[in-house]
């Protein structure tokens, strides 16, 4: 019977002594979804993943897979398979034996297991690798073997514990795309944990941002990026400018914030307390050599370029701006008239009130 969700966590709490590693987390993952849990190291995401896999038991709460509670079900009996951070390929076995391992555990005949393993290897683009030793594979190939080893068992859910962490940058970029493609061709539900926001943003259908044992926000990559619900999400997901100040007048969600220097900026948000944090994405900061271009913006300031951070398409400027204790960071389009700007050049910056998110500090 098809169930509308593959995975449900209900008020899951995990305590180690008095410390709550996972503190009252609930979420659901739909069939075929690529769901990521994003958070800094030590936020409890690994513990959460290990509870879903069955290596840890929650202190309280329920974990359900296709509606069936997994409490008390050991890891080897759950329809969940995990790709480990270290990949954990069995070094004493060939590639084919690694992939066939789970099948032989299910008493599938040897011949059939080998047959299905080699078909799976073919599907992940490793045709004819069955006889090789796992130590003879490249990083990306090992990755694919680790995933094939799970997928061959046709699990309801595949868990991935930062599997790209050990790869070098170039390969990691490549594997992000490959993982996403694999997931969509197999149409298997993936739950992916990572501390790398770019991995999460690129691959996921939905992301949960986790901090100190709790979910801060769950949503699509776009939602998280453009409408962060908490200051943590605003600063953890994507690059951002961040200033502290005091919230002044507020009406209809519009808020003005007075910075310590006395400068007032206009933003949006709901703030009960006075102390507040204001965030602006670097790409939301408009740049102009002529102040008149920015005249329609409620936030307009004049500054001087203090550093040019050239990084191709990701290039940006740091701008010392009067009234701001930290330089304003702004994306520098490499195709525009400002592409050749030098340190020390005077410049005008501005942004809309919508672009600035204000939160209680």
């Amino acid at each position: 019977m098809a169930h509308s969700t593959d995975l449900d966590l209900v008020n899951v709490i995990k305590r180690f002594g008095s410390h709550a590693a996972v503190n009252d987390v609930s979420f659901s993952v739909a069939p075929g979804e690529f769901f990521s849990i994003l958070g800094p190291s030590g936020c409890g995401k690994t513990t959460l993943m290990r509870m879903i896999a069955g290596f840890e038991n929650p202190t309280s709460g329920d974990i359900r897979i296709r509606g069936k509670s997994m409490i008390g079900v050991p890891a080897n009996k759950r329809p969940v398979n995990m790709v480990f951070q270290s990949l954990a390929l069995f070094p004493m076995m060939s590639v084919g034996e690694n992939v066939a391992y789970g099948l032989t555990c299910r008493d599938v005949s040897r011949a059939e297991a080998e047959e299905r393993a080699s078909r799976m290897l073919e599907r992940v683009g490793l045709k004819g690798f069955g006889e090789r030793r796992v130590t003879a594979l490249s990083g990306g190939q090992r990755q694919r073997v680790a995933i094939a080893r799970c997928l061959v068992l046709e699990p309801t859910l595949v868990l991935l514990d930062e599997p790209l962490g050990a790869l070098d940058l170039k390969l990691r970029e490549h594997m992000k795309i490959e993982l996403k493609q694999l997931q969509s061709t197999f149409n298997t539900t993936f739950a992916y944990i990572t501390h790398d926001q770019s991995e999460a943003l690129v691959m996921s259908d939905r992301i949960a941002v986790m901090n100190q044992g709790k979910f801060e926000q769950v949503g699509s990559p776009r939602e998280l990026y453009h409408n962060p619900a908490t200051p943590f999400v605003a600063s953890f997901v994507g690059e951002t400018n961040k200033w502290q100040g005091e919230a002044a007048a507020a009406a209809n969600g519009a808020i003005s914030v007075r910075l310590p220097s006395g400068t007032v900026v206009q933003g949006q948000g709901k703030v009960a307390d006075k102390a507040s944090l204001a965030f602006v994405r670097p790409e939301a900061v408009a740049l102009a050599q002529d102040a008149s271009v920015l005249s329609s913006l409620p936030n307009r300031f004049e500054g001087r370029v203090s550093a040019v951070l050239f990084d191709g398409a990701n290039s940006s400027l740091l701008i010392d701006t009067a009234g701001f204790d930290q330089p304003v960071r702004a994306v520098l389009p490499q195709a525009g008239p400002l592409a050749g700007i030098q340190v020390g050049a005077p410049i005008h910056v501005g942004w809309t009130a919508d672009a600035m998110k204000v939160f209680a500090a």
Partner: protein, 279 residues
């Protein structure tokens, strides 16, 4: 420092000659057709290995029942010692690396202790203790408990007392290098606990298990101090050799020694090959 002086090199050369001289001499004089293992050289012979005794006065070691029995005795001790050392050593290694319980540090120190006890003291203490146990039990059960009296079974226990430390250390060292996520991965893929142990953990430990077994075999074969205190009427090889050497030996003992060297060399190369193959 990177350019060794000539005198240093000469010293190294002299050192290795010094190291091998006694062994070489033992090997060479195993083939001397003389009733004594001393110069002069009286010609090459294999009598000390296979001779019937007509030419040199004593039968060769491969036909002499005295030597054959003593070699058999050594095996009767070494094989149980090696098997038990691997079996118990594996359990101990598991305790050291995997189990958590109060007093673990104390236990791991205790496991090292046998290494700092002189072998003779181990021998007499086990002899004295098991004699007392045997006396007590025999009185109570009204039956003879010969296996607690000096003899091969007591030699096995005496050798185990310190060989277990070695086998435990060898296996624990390998277990420490084991990536536990391999076990979790296998478990996650549906394997039972027993299957994980059989297909993942034990294959990983295999070189250490073989190594520990071979080291235990060698140590048992060569142990003298502890064994001397615990032997009964059936003597293993080192004890018989010692007896013969005190009396003024015939080259038969050289022949035995050469066989021993070849055996040890064989075991050592198996050990070296298995450890290399795993790397």
């Amino acid at each position: 420092m990177n350019r060794p002086s000539l005198s240093w090199k000469l010293y190294i050369a002299a050192f290795y000659i010094f190291l091998f001289a006694p062994l070489l001499v033992v090997a060479i004089f195993a083939f001397n057709a003389s009733p004594f293992p001393s110069p002069p050289w009286r010609g090459f012979t294999l009598e000390w290995f296979t001779g019937t005794g007509t030419a040199v006065g004593k039968p060769g070691v491969l036909v002499d029942p005295i030597w054959l029995d003593t070699i058999a005795n050594s095996f009767k001790v070494a094989i149980p010692v090696a098997l038990l050392a691997v079996l118990i050593g594996t359990v101990n290694a598991w305790v050291l690396e995997r189990a958590e319980f109060p007093g673990k540090t104390f236990l791991s120190m205790m496991m090292l202790w046998p290494l700092v006890i002189p072998g003779v003291v181990l021998g007499i203490s086990i002899l004295a203790f098991f004699s007392r146990v045997a006396n007590g039990l025999e009185e109570w059960l009204q039956t003879d408990l010969d296996f607690l009296r000096p003899g091969l079974s007591l030699v096995v226990l005496g050798q185990l007392s310190f060989i277990l430390t070695i086998s435990t250390l060898i296996i624990a060292a390998r277990l420490r290098k084991f990536d536990r996520s391999l076990e979790e991965a296998a478990f996650d893929l549906g394997a039972s606990r027993v299957r994980v142990l059989r297909t993942i953990t034990l294959p990983f430990l295999r070189p250490a298990l073989i190594g520990a077994g071979l080291v235990a075999l060698l140590m048992s074969f060569e142990n003298f101090n502890t064994t001397l205190m615990l032997v009964g009427s059936e003597a293993p090889l080192p004890i018989t050799m010692y007896g013969q050497m005190r009396e003024g030996a015939s080259p038969a003992i050289n022949a035995v020694s050469l066989l021993l060297m070849l055996g040890v060399g064989g075991i050592a190369s198996v050990f070296a090959l298995t450890s290399k193959a795993e790397r």
